[in-house]
C-alpha cells in the first residue's frame, strides 16, 4: 500500500488521523452499521423482484379482498424503507455524529 506513495506522508495530519485508533473505531462503527443494513434492504428488495417474476401465481393470489400478495409485499417495501430511514437517522444523530464531531474538533473543527 503506502510503499507506492510518491511523497512523504509521515507528518501529514490527515494521515496521522487516518491511522489513529479512534478514527479506525469511527470507520468501523460506520461500516458495521450501514453495510449490513444495505445488504439487508437490497436482499429484501431483490427477493421481492424475483418473487414478482418467478412466482407470479403466488404474487397474484388474493390475500384479502382484492389485495394480492404482490401488492401487500410491495407496500411492505414502503414500510421497511421508511423504517430503515428513521432507524438510521436516529442512530446517526445520536451515536455517529457526536463521535465524528469529536474527531473533527481534534483536527481543528470543520474549517
Amino acid at each position: 500500500m503506502s510503499k507506492e506513495a510518491p511523497e512523504r506522508v509521515d507528518d501529514d495530519p490527515n494521515v496521522a488521523m487516518q491511522n489513529s485508533a479512534e478514527f479506525n473505531e469511527l470507520r468501523t462503527k460506520f461500516r458495521k452499521f450501514v453495510f449490513p443494513l444495505t445488504a439487508l434492504f437490497l436482499a429484501w428488495y431483490f427477493l421481492y423482484v424475483l418473487l414478482s417474476v418467478f412466482a407470479k401465481e403466488f404474487m397474484g393470489t388474493r390475500l384479502f379482498g382484492n389485495i394480492t400478495w404482490g401488492l401487500t409485499l410491495g407496500l411492505l417495501q414502503f414500510v421497511t424503507t421508511f423504517a430503515i430511514t428513521m432507524y438510521y437517522a436516529r442512530w446517526a444523530d445520536r451515536v455517529f455524529d457526536p463521535a465524528a464531531e469529536a474527531l473533527a474538533q481534534k483536527m481543528g473543527g470543520h474549517q
Binding site: 500500500m1 503506502s2 507506492e4 506513495a5 510518491p6 511523497e7 506522508v9 501529514d12 490527515n14 494521515v15 488521523m17 487516518q18 491511522n19 478514527f23 450501514v34 443494513l37 444495505t38 434492504f41 437490497l42 428488495y45 431483490f46 421481492y48 423482484v49 424475483l50 414478482s52 417474476v53 418467478f54 407470479k56 404474487m59 397474484g60 388474493r62 384479502f64 379482498g65 382484492n66 389485495i67 394480492t68 404482490g70 401488492l71 410491495g74 417495501q77 414502503f78 424503507t81 421508511f82 430503515i84 430511514t85 428513521m86 438510521y88 437517522a89 446517526a92 444523530d93 455524529d97 465524528a100 464531531e101 474527531l103 473533527a104 483536527m107 481543528g108 473543527g109 470543520h110 474549517q111
Partner: protein, 548 residues
Amino acid sequence: MSTLLASAPSFAPTATTVGNPAINITIFALFVVVTLAIVIRVSRNNRSAAEYYAGGRAFTGRQNGIAIAGDYLSAASFLGIAGAIAINGYDGFLYSIGFLVAWLVALLLVAELLRNVGKYTMADVLSFRLRQRPVRIAAAISTLAVSFFYLLAQMAGAGGLVALLLGIEGQWGQRLVIVVVGLIMLVYVIYGGMKGTTWVQIIKAVLLIIGAGIMTLWVLSMFGFSLSNLLGEATQASQDAGGKDLLQPGLQYKNPIDFISLSMALVLGTAGLPHVLMRFYTVPTSREARRSVVWAIWLIGIFYLFTLVLGFGAADLVGSSAIKKAPGGVNSAAPLLAFELGGEILLGIISAVAFATILAVVAGLTITASASLSHDIYNTVVKKGTATPEEEVKVARISALVLGAVAIIGGIFALGQNIAFLVALAFAVAASANLPTILYSLFWKRFNTRGALWSIYGGLISAITLIIFSPVVSGKAVDPVTGKSPSMLQGVDFHWFPLDNPGIISIPLGFILGYIGTVTSKEYNAAKYAEMEVRSLTGHGAETASTH
C-alpha cells in the same frame, strides 16, 4: 361508473382539446409569474460560484428535502407511473418501489460522505484522490449523458401534455410550446442559479404533492375509501374492455430477466444521478444532507402511494383504451383522470402542475450539466484550475444557454416517446457509469485512476451500446390498438440485444472493470486518500455555508 366509461372514448379519438385551453394556460402562466418573481427576489446576489452552483449552501435539510422531492418526482413519476399502473396494473407499481428503495443507497452510503468531500459537482468527489484531468473529463461526460437522457424524458412529457391539453394537431404548435418551456427554464437557471432553481423545485413539489393528494382522496372517496374496492372495480373495468386482470404480475414485463435488469437500474441508479447528488451541496453540513434525504424519502414514498391510487383510478374511471388512444398516450392517464373527476378546472390545475414539474426538473438538469461543463471541463481541463469564480459562473451561464438549445431540439425529437422508459435508461447509465466509481472512491482504499476510467467509460459505453441495439430503439411488434411499434424508430429492426434495459449487463460490468482497472495499476496517493477519508467521515475540511 358506466356513464364515465362511456363518455371517455368520445373525446379521446378526436385528438382535439380536453378541457379548456384558456384555463390550462392561465393557471400555468400564473405559476410561471409567481415563480419568476420569487426567483428574481432570492437571486440578487448570485455572483459567487458557491451561490450559483450551490445556493450558498444555505438551505435547511427540510427545504432541500422538499426540493429533492421536486427534482425526483419528475414528469416520469407523475405521468409515466400513473399511466403505467393504469395500463399494466401491478407491473406499473413495480417502478415506484425501485425508485423509492433506491433512496436508501443514497441515504446510507452516499449523501453525507459526498457532501463532506465535494464542492459543486459529482466529479469533485470522483476525482478527489485521483488524477484530476482524466477523471473529471470522464465524470463530466457521464454527467452530461445521464442528464441528456433525463432531459429527453422530461421534454417528451411536455410534448405529450401539450398534445393533450391544447389539442394541437400540427407539429409546429407542439414545438413552439417546447421552445417556450425551454426559454422559461433558462431564465430560472441563468438568472436564478441554484438558489432560484431550488425555490422553483420547492414550490413545484408542494403543488404536486398537494394536487396528487387531493386527487387521491377524491378517487378513494368514490370507492368508499377502500383500496380493495378500487382495485376490484379497476380490474373489472379492464377485463370488461377485453383487457387483463390488472392485479396479476407480468402484464408489462413478459421477460423475467428484463424486469430484473430494470430493477437493478432503478435501485442502483438514484445514488448516481448527478442532478440529485448536486443537491446535497446546497445544505451547510452533512447532518443537514441526511435530513434532506429523510424528508425526501417520506415525501417521495407518500407520493408513490398516491400514484398507485391514481393509476388504478384512471384504469377504472377513464379506461385503458381511452388512455392509449388519447394524444400523449400512456402519459395522459393522470390528466384524463383529473378531467373525469373535476372537469376543466382540476384538469387545468393538474396540467399546470405537470408543466411546472417538467420546467423545474429540466432546470435542475440544466444547472447540473452546466456546472459540470464549467467547473469540470472549463476550469480544470481548459484553464488548468486557474479560472476565477466569476469566469466559471459566466461560462456556466453560457453553457446553460447551449444546453437549453439542446433540450429544446432534443425535446422536439423525443415527442411521443414513453417517458418512464427514457428515465429508466437514464437510471441504467447512472448505475453503470457513476455508482461503481462513487462507491469505490468512498470505500475502497486501493481504488485509482485507471479503475475509475475503466469503470466510468466501460459502464457508459456498454449501457448506451446495449440501449441502441435493444428493442427500445427498434424492432418491437406493432401494437394493434395504436397501430404503431412501441420502439423509438418505426419500420426498421437492427436490435440484437434482447432486453429493454441494459442494467443486468452494464452495472456488473462497471463494477468489474473498476476492479480490474484498479488492481492492474500501481497508482496510490496516500495523502489525498487520508484527506478524503477523514473529511468524508468527520466533516473536517468540508465546504461551509457562505456568509452574507
